[in-house]
Amino acid sequence: MTGWAQIALLFALVLGAAFPLGAYIARLYNGERVFLTPVMAPFERGFYKLAGIDPNRQMRWQDYAVALLMLSAVHAGLLYAILRLQYYLPFNPQNIPGMAPNLAFNTAVSFLTNTNWQAYAPESQISNGAQMFGLTVHMFLSAAAGIAAAGAMMRAFSGGHLTSLGNFYVDLTRIALYLLLPVSIIAAVLLLVAGVPQTFAPFAVAHTLSGEPQTIARGPVAFMEAIKEFGTNGGGFFNANSSHPFENPSAATLLLENWLLLVISFSLPITFGHIVKDRKQGIALFAAMAILLVLGVAGTYAAEAHGNALQIAAGASPLHGNMEGKEMRFGSALTSMFNVSATGTSTGAIAGATDSFMPLGGLVPLFLMQLGEVTPGGVGSGFYTMIVFALLSVFVAGLMVGRTPEYQGKKIQAKEIKLAMLAVLILTLFILGGAAFSLMTKSGLGSLANAGPHGLSEMLYAWTSATENNGSAMAGISANTNLLDYGLGAAMAFGRFAFLIPVLAIAGSLAAKPKLPPSAGTFPTTGPLFIGLLIGVIIILGGLQFMPADTLGPVAEHYLLASGKLF
């Protein structure tokens, strides 16, 4: 039972933090004074002055989108340059050479889109300097950009006849200064205390008992680790990610990291409740996210705790469940919880190998990503994707109360539906199209580590992870090929920006509409009925299209395993 108790403890901690943090983020969006204002305001003003930004400028949705895209484009170039030129840049004690163009492209897009898909091997292919000034900086930037966009979406519902969605630069700066930076610093200190290294020294060399020297990779880990989780980024300092003892030394640090990666995404619906001045609206979205995630964690843990019948038959102890690919210090419960949380958010960090999960245990993370990353999704992106689903739910079922569907007093009409469907379409196209295409090419097949349905799962998982900006992988796949570097790079870019632009357009369109006052005839968007409906629509409209492919992957594998067949 300790497994379930650990899971319950984490959810209680997230729940307890989401409400105050949600209120705090609402104050940041509204430009209100917070307790950190005396410390941060000078920096905030300094940044605006330095960058020549007028913080009072109000942006239409087009301006907001352009600002976000321009900033991303400039930074993509910058990051690409850092990765290519890292050999010549400071903080490279191991003298690691510059990345190849395909890998640098993939990595730059990956960290810019909050995906953190890692086609490179961190220990041997990236310098400390590039980790800090390249990757870690963009972990802050991409997270802040996502949260800013969520704020723009929230403002669309805050009143009627609005022309502006706020100021992107102000949102970005305030989120980074007042939210991401302070919490990351505190978390990094806690991780340091718990044994995570933060050093600029070269790799350590240890002399093992057998007399052979062993190189131990180390570097400025703690700070990167903090924002990696808090910003739902997921790119580890080490290849083994959060299962590496330097990233995640104990069950306590796992709990902390797990809390970090969930807390912002669960706070944003609460923030939404504050912005629309109806707390229940936020709680309904929160509940839908939480129920799906809890079901996912429970499903995976149940599959893992039950263990692998074939291994048990071969003499493995059934006590700890399926322990293949898991760390003894975490066990089945924490590993299941962490990996599912990291795929339910778009973090993609792992505390154990998803590749070695039981087939159904691996189906859950895959399916949570395919649902569109709304459980609770990436920071910001989870929220605005959830709004897209809320709009679709209200549109499909809202007619049943006999009125033109409306959400938060905003009528949902042809334009919003067109944009929402376009966004969903892009995700489907890249996930299914990319995976199917790769499986038909020689290069794609060469990347697979396993045959049969497990190989299919690996490829499907890779494209799903990239398109949904998750970044986790079923570790068996070799991702550093031209096909996957460029293909998945494109999937990450489209999955982020080709989704975000229609979403901001929806926000712009809704903002301009009058906000209708609620009445007894208004479709209720709070309460168990709506939450159930929303979950149903997420599964049917967000997940059903992936079922045929999933059936040939993890589902087939599950039934084959049951009949004694392994891959």
């Binding site: 379409l425 309460g527 049917i540």
Partner: protein
């Protein structure tokens, strides 16, 4: 004919013609308007080609041909649903068309000279032409009376056989083409060009041919098209996944999967629902200028209702007696009766009948008596018989005429009646003050309950009246409206509507007079009365042929019903997908991974029969739902939350469960008939 006449759901003639139309509608060019069914048709063609190819090359062709047949039937059932909805509309249009006049119109060149006219065919009339119509003529086109007064039989469009009076000026000056003038003559100015008359518009609307999609329908179409593309991607990419998995996927199987996943049910029924909604409105004798207005009616959250005729009967009626001290109630009643015997106004008659019902007083007019008629000057009426006289009238007028100081209890009674919103009348006999009659505006029975039902749906009712605020408030309290505009001028109405709209509310109102036109135009749903002026009729977006202002409530319900039907069938259609997955996916993959048989929850007999059962269910469900689409899902005046719970249970949960049962049943039947098992 009457529009209220019911057309049976499956009238033989209509069904036969619809079957023919359904085939004609298979033309891919016209079908492209409906993306879901269009894709189904393309897929049907592909499967047919495979079937024929197999037949020619001697490969097993039974399965592809059977699938092809059922896919074609899916398309046909969808076009049939639309055709039958149009057919019902057309049947109504035919009977309307019969009313259209082909008799020549009498075109005047000079309105002063009614003897000089030229006979021209009605369709050649242009706007602003002057036309003479005389007793027995059909009115050739829509027009405004500029001279004359006549009785007109409007049964052709309203179904109401009692003739109505139409006259120049005022609020009854509009006439409709196709109606017949029974007495006297009229000079009309034609207000509609040929083909654009009221009747033409009505015919076009019910026929559905020139029907334009409404905003909500367009949005739904986009959703359905989007879902179709998404599932198209899922099925096309399955070729790649199948290739990797060494699974043989042929076109009939992929086609079956695709057609079962895309929302063919709602795609096939969508336009039928829209046409049927229009038809329902016409059956209520309301003509909308656009489908948009019908949808807007469902969204309305405030109704502006005229007090007179809608909330009350419109005539003040006797409702109480207050004798002064020393006068028997019966004496007052008798005097009031005498005073009203010669009074033919509704008020006067109500007094006589009130006394008859309450006190069993029925009096005959005494011989040699003289009626004193009401005049605006004296504001008193009554009866003189010999040396006796009875008077009733406005309180101050009666007091002045008999010149007495009223006792305190009389004054109390007068102010009590006035405070309650009713009108006090003083009664005197032979110069002696007897007491007070209370005349009251009677609220229609049942109206309070209807307003309560509207309130539950989140719709505010606002009473508009010319009465003073005291009277208005009393009636409002009795009828249970949410707000009142007393002593309302046209400007007040307009201001009120604008204020509501600024708060983001949608307002519906009805009106008949020219002075209502600005408010009708401003309102989101403006229902003009057929008896109203041309200006009012043009300002509104609906016309009520029965001129019954209460109907605004029904119009709102019809609008809601249309949206509810659409939403329910969409939800049902999408919820169906889950069961179809469990039927088709194991069937497709079971040859590669026999273990996937575990997903065959319904234990369908064989892969072929599983796929076929799903396809057959998918086709038959369209036909099965045609009656529901035409009739509409029943609307209930409960709150949105209750309505959602109910419909989500029936169409959401029902939509998940129904196909499991249906597909299994079809599979059992196929098995029993030894088809692919």
């Amino acid at each position: 004919m009457s529009n209220a006449e019911l057309i049976s759901l499956f009238d033989r003639g209509i069904v036969m013609r619809a079957a023919g139309d359904a085939l004609r509608k298979l033309n891919p060019i016209t079908l492209a308007r409906n993306p879901v069914i269009f894709v189904t048709e393309i897929v049907s063609m592909m499967v047919s080609i495979v079937g024929v190819e197999n037949l020619l090359t001697g490969q097993p062709a039974g399965f592809p041909i059977t699938v092809a047949i059922w896919l074609w039937l899916t398309v046909l059932f969808a076009t049939f649903a639309e055709a039958i909805a149009e057919g019902r509309g057309r049947a109504r249009a035919e009977s309307l068309r019969r009313a259209r006049s082909d008799t020549p119109a009498k075109l005047l060149s000079n309105m002063k000279d009614r003897r000089n006219f030229k006979l021209v065919p009605a369709p050649q009339l242009k706007r602003n032409d002057l036309v003479l119509v005389e007793a027995g003529d059909l009115i050739p086109s829509d027009g405004e009376i500029i001279e004359g007064i006549a009785s007109v039989n409007e049964s052709a469009i309203t179904g109401e056989s009692a003739p109505v009076i139409r006259e120049a000026g005022g609020d009854r000056s509009a006439v409709t083409g196709g109606t017949q003038i029974i007495s006297d003559w009229l000079v009309l100015r034609i207000t509609a060009d040929a083909g654009a008359t009221f009747l033409d518009r009505m015919i076009a609307l019910v026929e559905g041919a020139s029907r334009r999609k409404t905003p909500n329908e367009i949005a739904l179409d986009i959703l359905l098209a989007g879902l179709t593309i998404i599932f198209l991607i899922a099925v096309v990419t399955l070729v790649g996944f199948g290739y990797y998995s060494d699974t043989k996927l042929n076109i009939p199987v992929l086609a079956a999967l695709l057609v079962c996943l895309i929302p063919t049910t709602i795609g096939g029924l969508l336009s039928a629902i829209g046409i049927a909604g229009m038809d329902r409105l016409v059956r209520f004798n309301v003509v909308a200028t656009s489908g948009r207005a019908v949808e807007a009616a469902g969204d309305v959250d405030a109704l502006l209702l005229d007090k007179t005729g809608t909330i009350t009967f419109g005539n003040r009626m006797a409702a109480g007696l207050y004798p002064i001290t020393g006068i028997a109630e019966r004496d007052l009643a008798e005097a009031a009766s005498f005073a009203s015997l010669g009074d033919a106004t509704p008020e006067g008659r109500s007094i006589v009948s009130f006394m008859r019902e309450q006190f069993s007083i029925s009096l005959a007019m005494p011989a040699g008596s003289a009626v004193v008629p009401f005049s605006a000057n004296t504001r008193v009426s009554g009866l003189d018989s010999g040396d006796k006289s009875w008077r009733k009238g406005a309180v101050d007028s009666i007091l002045k005429s008999i010149n007495v100081q009223p006792p305190a209890d009389f004054n109390d009674a007068v102010s009590k009646v006035a405070r309650s919103g009713a009108t006090p009348l003083a009664v005197s006999a032979n110069g002696r003050l007897l007491g007070v009659i209370e005349l009251k505006d009677i609220v229609k029975p049942g109206i309070r309950e209807r307003f309560a039902a509207l309130r539950k749906m989140g719709i505010r009712t606002v009473m508009v009246t010319g009465d003073n605020p005291v009277t208005a408030a009393a009636i409002a309290a009795e009828a249970g409206v949410d707000d009142v505009i007393a002593q309302a001028t046209p400007q007040d109405k307009l201001d009120y509507i604008r204020k509501m709209q600024a708060e983001g509310r949608l307002v519906a109102m009805c009106g008949d007079g020219t002075n209502d036109a600005p408010a009708l135009a401003q309102a989101d749903v403006g229902v003009a009365m057929q008896t109203g002026t041309q200006a009012a009729r043009e300002a509104g977006n609906m016309v009520d042929l029965d001129s019954d202002p209460t109907k605004l409530i029904e119009i709102v319900e019809i609008g809601k019903q249309l949206l509810i039907t659409r939403g329910s069938l969409t939800t049902f259609s999408i919820a169906n997908d889950i069961a179809k997955y469990f039927a088709i996916l194991p069937a497709i993959f079971v040859t590669t991974y026999p273990q996937l048989q575990a997903l065959n929850l319904m234990h369908l007999a064989s892969p072929e029969s599983a796929i076929l059962s799903a396809v057959i269910f998918n086709a038959l469900i369209i036909v099965a739902l045609v009656p529901l689409a035409l009739r509409g899902v029943k609307y209930r005046a409960v709150g949105a939350a209750a309505l959602l719970r109910r419909n989500l249970l029936i169409y959401g949960l029902g939509g998940i469960i129904a196909p499991f049962i249906g597909i299994k049943a079809i599979d059992l039947l196929l098995h029993a008939l030894h088809v692919f098992s």
